[in-house]
């Protein structure tokens, strides 16, 4: 999108005269939709989370009749009301906190997630910045957020926050590795880091009926998909891997001392990160913007629709996890990563290589 805008701007006389201004304008114009998308995503996802959890728990969730003091039809306005509440809430910074870092932390976390969004394509055209190493870029930017988490935990000057931050650092850094390695299986098959090529490699059908997405390509990629997805869930701190904010142990973990708008940035980022993990999984393994019925419903807006549906489905699975599983313990989490996920992801790489060379 940035390139596209730059092309347009070069045709406008006064803008083409100052390339710096044109670049800033182009970046801002493509950044704004991402920001809006993240906000809307959080609103929708929070509402969905409430309703999904409610239905799983045999209750109704937010409900109300009409607009007024109630939360709207089916509680549709509940998250809006929440957002307004968070915006108008008193901003508390603990007296003993490290003030500068305390203020900075949520923004670092948010920025890490925001820049990652830039590389995420919604269909073959709609992408803020079309890199030729998009998948690598997103993985790299995804780890920037952990600095924000550690800063938040450290600067709060609260022992619970510190525990949350330490757990988070250990967890996110550990699970980056299996997540990256399982994506490597896909990269081996396509020979490219660009999402455009990865998705293009998944067109057509396998065995006549199944779309030839990488998840159906061979048993090892099928396995790699679940490895990536579970490691991704661990990276975004969702149950059963929500140790950094384990509410029954660490009160609220690294964001114990945060409230109001600053806290809502953590929240926004959590849901945006979920979307990124779901989006990358959809692009790399589920054919991205490709239709599940090869040859039908393809191209243009259909692409966005399919991509969003796949991502939404994966987010739904994450919610399903959350409302079903208990939480692991720190050592169990680490053991699972290093003793199971790591060897398994190496195995997928070797397996995919062998499959591609000899069996295909």
């Amino acid at each position: 999108m940035v390139d596209y805008l730059l092309d347009i701007f070069s045709g406008i006389g006064w803008l083409s005269a100052s390339p710096n201004l044109a670049f800033v304008l182009a970046v801002t114009l493509s950044g704004l939709p991402i920001f809006l998308f993240m906000a809307v995503n959080a609103l929708v996802a929070v509402y969905a989370e409430r309703k999904v959890s409610a239905f799983m728990q045999d209750r109704l969730g937010p409900m109300g009749q009409g607009v007024g003091l109630h939360a709207g039809k089916w509680g549709l306005l509940q998250t809006v009301a929440d957002a307004v509440k968070l915006l108008t809430k008193e901003d508390i910074i603990p007296a003993s906190a490290d003030r500068k870092l305390f203020i900075l932390a949520p923004f670092i976390l948010f920025i890490g997630c925001f820049v990652a969004f830039a590389g995420l394509p919604f269909n073959e055209h709609v992408v803020a910045a079309d890199f030729n190493l998009g998948i690598f870029y997103i993985l790299a930017m995804g780890s920037v957020g952990v600095i924000g988490v550690i800063l938040a935990g450290y600067s709060s000057n609260n022992k619970w926050s510190l525990y949350g931050a330490m757990r988070s650092a250990a967890q996110i850094i550990s699970y980056e590795i299996p997540a990256g390695l399982s994506l490597l299986a896909v990269i081996m098959l396509t020979g490219s880091l660009a999402f455009r090529d990865i998705v293009a490699a998944q067109t057509g059908t396998t065995l006549g009926v199944l779309p030839s997405w990488f998840i159906f390509d061979n048993p090892f990629t099928f396995f790699a998909f679940w490895l990536f997805f579970v490691a991704g869930v661990a990276e975004v701190n969702r149950t059963p891997f929500d140790l950094p904010e384990a509410e029954s142990e660490l009160v609220a973990g690294f964001h114990t001392e945060y409230s109001g708008m600053r806290w809502s940035f953590f929240f926004l980022t959590e849901y945006a990160n979920m979307f990124i993990v779901a989006g990358v999984a959809a692009l790399a393994f589920l054919g991205g913007w490709l239709s599940p019925f090869p040859g039908y419903f393809e191209g243009g807006l259909w692409g966005i629709f399919w991509f969003m549906s796949k991502a939404a489905f994966l987010i739904f699975i994450m919610m399903w996890f959350r409302w079903t599983f208990p939480r692991l313990r720190t050592d169990q989490l680490m053991r699972m990563c290093w003793k199971f996920f790591m060897p398994a992801s190496f195995l997928t790489i070797v397996g995919v290589g062998i499959w591609d060379l000899f069996i295909r």
Partner: protein, 381 residues
């Protein structure tokens, strides 16, 4: 230290940090403060500080007549109020040699077992919550709600019933209550399988609770740990069977004990599973009692006009959902007791926390605390 953990972590040690869990903490089941020394995530020492909810129950009782103390027993263990009323009433009746009518005996057993269901449901649900599973908690509350509705229909209160009186109960069962209770039991019995599917045999849940916080039987007895916690350690000890009070000897029920099925004997999972199995037993008892209860009779027939026991004392204990609930009552022949001591099962269960939770992680301490099923109102009195 847990053997598995020790193997895993070797001899890596860092600086010790003092951490206060509570009194404002989501998982201490009330206002409990644990001052723990931690080495990283590992706990090296736990000192429980209790008394935040001390409401001078025993001092109050010295200034109250015997029947006025009943509402105070409600407020001690607010999760198992019926059983507290029952225990207190049994103690005073023993002191005064009161024989209550057949119908009242049945009614007491019914409400006490229903209350045990409600209490165990809360224990199971919050234990799930403590290890991070949110949904079983709400499933348990959904079913507990129905029991509370029944109690509301019975005596107007949902938590603090003041239902069992000395020599009787406050109200007869209202019209339709027995049928509704049957309906509830029919509805509830299949739900136990649902808890099993959702939580009991969940791999992560087993990982978190099996082998964790083992209480060996001797330690449990020495610490006075009773009730489901003691049975979880494999000791078949239930006051309802061993020192029958009321009419518990007429019912056919089992006393489930821990077997170490998922880990070692006396771990958190065993304690949890004993509670779950006791749900079935309580349903069984309630059903039998409803079947054979005499339908007519005056529930106030044996209520004494004036409660003035002769000088003497009594120590009687009953099986509350949390264990041996003892009442030591000393009377000097006046309207008020000179001493009324409540031996609370949660108090004794909490006292062994340091012994069993030392060397485990912060997460495990929360799980162990949840598996002990403490009620702070009863510990602090």
């Amino acid at each position: 230290m847990g053997v598995a953990l020790e193997k895993e972590l070797g001899t890596v040690h860092g600086e010790e940090m003092i951490l206060n869990i509570g009194p404002q903490h989501p998982s201490t089941h009330g206002v409990l403060r644990l001052r723990v020394k931690t080495d990283g995530e590992i706990i090296t020492e736990i000192i429980p500080y209790i008394g935040y909810l001390h409401r001078c129950f025993e001092k109050h009782c010295e200034n109250l007549t015997y029947e006025q103390a009943i509402p105070f027993t409600d407020r001690c263990d607010y999760i198992g109020s019926m059983n507290n009323n029952f225990g207190y009433a049994v103690a005073v009746e023993q002191l005064m040699d009161i024989k209550v009518s057949e119908k009242v005996e049945y009614m007491r057993v019914i409400v006490a077992e229903m209350n045990r269901l409600a209490s165990h449901l809360l224990a199971i649900g919050t234990f799930g919550l403590d290890v991070g599973a949110f949904t079983p908690f709400l499933y348990c509350f959904r079913d507990r709600e129905r029991i509370l509705d029944l109690f509301e229909m019975l005596c107007g209160a949902r938590l603090l019933y003041n239902y069992i009186w000395i020599g009787g109960v406050s109200h007869d069962f209202p019209v339709g209550w027995v049928e509704k209770t049957y309906d509830f039991l029919d509805y509830f019995e299949p739900k136990i399988a649902e808890y099993n599917e959702l939580l009991t045999y969940n791999k992560i849940f087993i990982e978190r609770s099996a082998d964790v916080g083992v209480i060996p039987a001797e330690v449990a007895i020495s610490y006075g740990v009773t009730g489901p916690n003691l049975r979880g350690s494999g000791v078949r000890w239930d006051i309802r069977k061993e020192e029958t009070y009321g009419i518990y000897d007429r019912f056919d029920f089992d006393v489930p004990i821990g077997t170490g099925a998922m880990g070692s004997l006396g771990d958190c999972w065993d304690r949890y599973y004993v509670r779950l199995r006791e749900l079935e037993e309580s349903v069984k008892i309630t059903r039998q009692a409803l079947d054979s209860m005499p339908r007519d009779g005056d529930v106030h027939a044996a209520v004494p006009k004036k409660i003035r026991p002769k000088a003497g004392h009594v120590y009687s204990r009953t099986e509350s959902p949390r264990g041996d609930l003892g009442f030591y009552i000393a009377s000097d022949g006046s309207d008020t007791p000179i001493r009324l001591k409540m031996r609370s099962p949660a108090f004794t269960a909490l006292s062994c926390l340091d012994e069993i939770a030392r060397g485990w992680m912060i997460s495990d301490v929360i799980a162990i605390l949840g598996s002990l099923d403490i009620v702070l109102g009863e510990i602090d009195r």
